[in-house]
């Protein structure tokens, strides 16, 4: 078994009187896709926001490559190589692809943008992910389709040699062909050695790409299993709480 690059243990987070995460653990491995599933309100988004540094945890240990780290803002997470692709995409419609991919970390020389350098890196990244659907890297994001936007958002996350990429429902709003495209992209991401954590409601997608499945139920991690050792029915059972996982944690 590989060493996990991210290992969460006993993570707790509450909003006022509402306890959302009640001692959650999670592992993610380099080059592997870990699916994070669970019903609405199970705490998936809260768990992710803590990893992204957007919304720090109340307590618990985050080990990154075996060393404990504290993530209190997005820049710290980003500096470690943890990138998040949010469900609502977090792209700026009025900016073009290059501008979006470099937002917040532009290449400059003498205090002004080095547009050429950014453009080259952007197209190289898109190429490395075998993206073929984008005509020009200078297209405005507002002119892109849902799948293309998701592609840009994912490409943005790997631009600066990310080690962990967290995808929040990457296929939620997509059609069949575009879902296929994005899932392929996710696989290529893992092939490059990135640890991928993918939140999804769609178990078909999960079983198609994930190596591990982690199930959150009401703020607790009720199962961490290898995909090959389980079935869709079992996972549905864990998600709804009608079944209890009895095996050994993966």
């Amino acid at each position: 078994m590989d060493e996990p690059i991210i290992e969460l243990s006993d993570i707790k987070k509450s909003f006022g009187p509402v306890s959302v995460l009640k001692g959650v653990s999670l592992k993610a491995y380099p080059g592997k896709i870990t699916a994070l599933v669970g019903d609405n309100g199970a705490g998936k988004s809260t768990l992710i926001k803590g990893l992204a540094g957007v919304q720090p945890y109340d307590s618990g240990v985050v080990n990154f490559n075996g060393t404990p780290v504290h993530l209190t803002n997005p820049r710290e997470a980003s500096a470690l190589g943890i990138e998040v692709v949010y469900q609502d995409l977090a792209l700026c419609d009025n900016l073009d692809i290059v501008q979006n991919m470099f937002l917040g970390r532009e290449e400059t020389s003498f205090g002004t943008f080095d547009e050429g350098e950014m453009e080259r890196q952007a197209s190289e990244t898109l190429q490395s992910l075998s993206v073929r659907t984008v005509k020009s890297v200078r297209q405005r994001v507002s002119s892109l389709s849902g799948g293309q936007r998701q592609t840009v958002a994912i490409a943005r996350s790997v631009l600066k040699s990310a080690k962990v990429v967290i995808l929040d429902e990457p296929t939620a709003a997509l059609g069949v062909a575009q879902t296929e495209q994005v899932l392929n992209l996710v696989k290529r991401l893992a092939d490059q050695g990135v640890a991928v954590i993918m939140i999804s409601h769609n178990l078909v997608d999960v079983f198609q790409v994930a190596d591990y499945i982690s199930v959150l139920y009401l703020g607790q991690m009720v199962a961490e299993i290898q995909t090959k050792d389980t079935t869709s029915d079992d996972v549905v059972g864990y998600i709804t709480g009608s079944k209890t996982y009895t095996g050994v944690s993966a």
Binding site: A52, P74, E106, F113, G116, R120, S136, R138
Partner: protein, 437 residues
């Protein structure tokens, strides 16, 4: 990186462009670029085009209707009348890009100018005028910071904060100047902004500097892109751009270098000599601020983040952008440039009273919208505000020459504003956008 590495990537990207995978919109000759531009315009990305078209149409209309419109004297007049609007519209673009508004920009100028005249008035405190000028600009910075605090930190909508200041500052102006008070501007340097001109050679020098800067940045940009190994637009476009600046700028300077008229009245007195020629001093000041602001918006992090926050504040925050600080700075810049606009107005009318700046702000907002700046934020440039302001100013100027008074002026200005907003909305719907954004 070594030379060979760069050479390799250069080859890679050309191969990439040739294979038609991911381009950058920079490939192809003049025709390809022109075609791409037309496609962008048809896709709803019209930029400053409608405003320029409107300006040209209005100019032709007034030229036909009034024999006085197309005279070099009126041309200079138009520029000086427009200057305050142009500066105010550019000031407002900074906050409008964020999706915010500053309704107090006009009275901010009023307060700052009241402070200026009270401080510098020779019969009163008689402070050194440069010091007074700096203090009034700092007043602008302080007011901007004040607005920024309430909008960005406290989270009150800017419409409400600045509406409050719009009312409050009128009172402040009354308190500073006194009811019914009026101070004459007595510093020749301030009066010179709008009433004196560059020497004839100064106009040509200004044009030369513009060509030099435009050509120089083009060369530097292209060199950077070559170093990064990405394709450049065909060099013909640079020559076209320089040619346009040379021809239009040349006509402009040549026209303003004609001797226009014998007398120039200011507050009932004759100022200046018999010969009036040259580019009004306000023009190079405005162009310099336009250039500096555009540079900041297009090429620095601050500018990019301004657009990002206007487009999607949550995305900007998640990208690690300090949204509060950027907003703060934008309001600071807006109020400071509003004070500059106040100096232009004061220089033009020669006095400051308690109602100074009360009526101008909505013209500034209208100018920005007419020029193509989106009130929803994230779309627009400084030049849009400037051209929009020229449109608004030419309406006032032309209708004045036709002896049509304030009533018609307000009606036409309002009509043009709604027309411009409609053109913008319709073009965006045709381009696939939604009507509301």
């Amino acid at each position: 990186m070594s030379e060979t590495k760069n050479a390799d990537t250069a080859v890679d990207t050309t191969a990439l462009a040739a294979s038609g995978m991911i381009g950058s919109g920079q490939e192809g000759g003049v025709l390809d670029q022109a075609r791409a531009y037309i496609q962008r315009v048809r896709g709803g990305d019209m930029g400053v085009l409608p405003a320029v078209a409107g300006f040209v149409v209005l100019c032709i209309l007034f030229a036909v209707l009034s024999p006085y419109f197309m005279t070099d004297r009126n041309f200079a007049n138009l520029l000086t009348q427009a200057a305050s609007y142009v500066m105010l519209a550019m000031a407002l673009v900074f906050v409008i890009l964020l999706g915010e508004i500053d309704l107090s920009a006009g009275v901010t100028a009023g307060v700052a100018m009241s402070i200026f005249v009270v401080l510098s008035n020779p019969g009163g405190i008689a402070m050194n005028w440069i010091l007074a000028l700096i203090l009034s600009l700092l007043t602008g910075v302080a007011i901007g910071a004040f607005i920024g605090f309430f909008v960005a930190r406290v989270g009150i909508p800017s419409f409400v904060v600045t509406l409050g200041l719009f009312l409050g500052f009128q009172g402040l102006q009354l308190l500073i100047i006194g009811t019914g008070g009026l101070y004459r501007i007595q510093q020749p340097e301030i009066l010179a902004i709008q009433n004196n001109n560059l020497p004839v050679w100064g106009g040509w020098l200004m044009l030369a500097v513009m060509l030099l800067i435009s050509g120089g940045t083009a060369v530097l940009d292209r060199r950077r892109r070559v170093r990064a190994g990405v394709p450049n637009r065909t060099v013909v476009l640079v020559w076209i751009k320089l040619g346009v600046i040379l021809v239009i700028g040349g006509l402009f300077v040549a026209l303003l270098n004609q001797n226009r008229g014998q007398v120039n009245y200011l507050a009932g007195k004759v100022v200046g000599g018999n010969v009036i020629e040259g580019v009004p001093i306000v023009v190079p000041i405005t162009l310099a601020i336009l250039w500096a602001g555009t540079f900041m918006l297009d090429r620095t992090r601050f500018g990019r983040y301004l657009y990002a926050i206007g487009g999607n504040p949550e995305a900007a925050r998640r990208a690690g952008i300090k949204v509060v600080g950027i907003k703060w700075a934008a309001f600071g810049i807006c109020s400071t440039l509003a004070v500059v606009s106040g100096f232009f107005t004061a220089s033009q009318i020669g006095s400051v009273d308690a109602s100074f700046g009360r009526d101008i702000v909505l013209f500034g907002v209208a100018a920005a919208v007419v020029g193509g700046v989106s009130l929803f934020g994230g779309r627009g440039r400084l030049i849009h505000g400037a051209v929009g302001a020229l449109v608004i100013a030419v309406i006032t100027n032309g209708l004045g020459l036709l002896n049509l008074g304030g009533g018609v002026n307000y009606l036409v200005t309002g009509g043009v504003l709604i027309l411009a907003a409609t053109v913008d909305a319709v073009s965006r719907v045709r381009g696939g956008g939604s009507l509301t954004r």
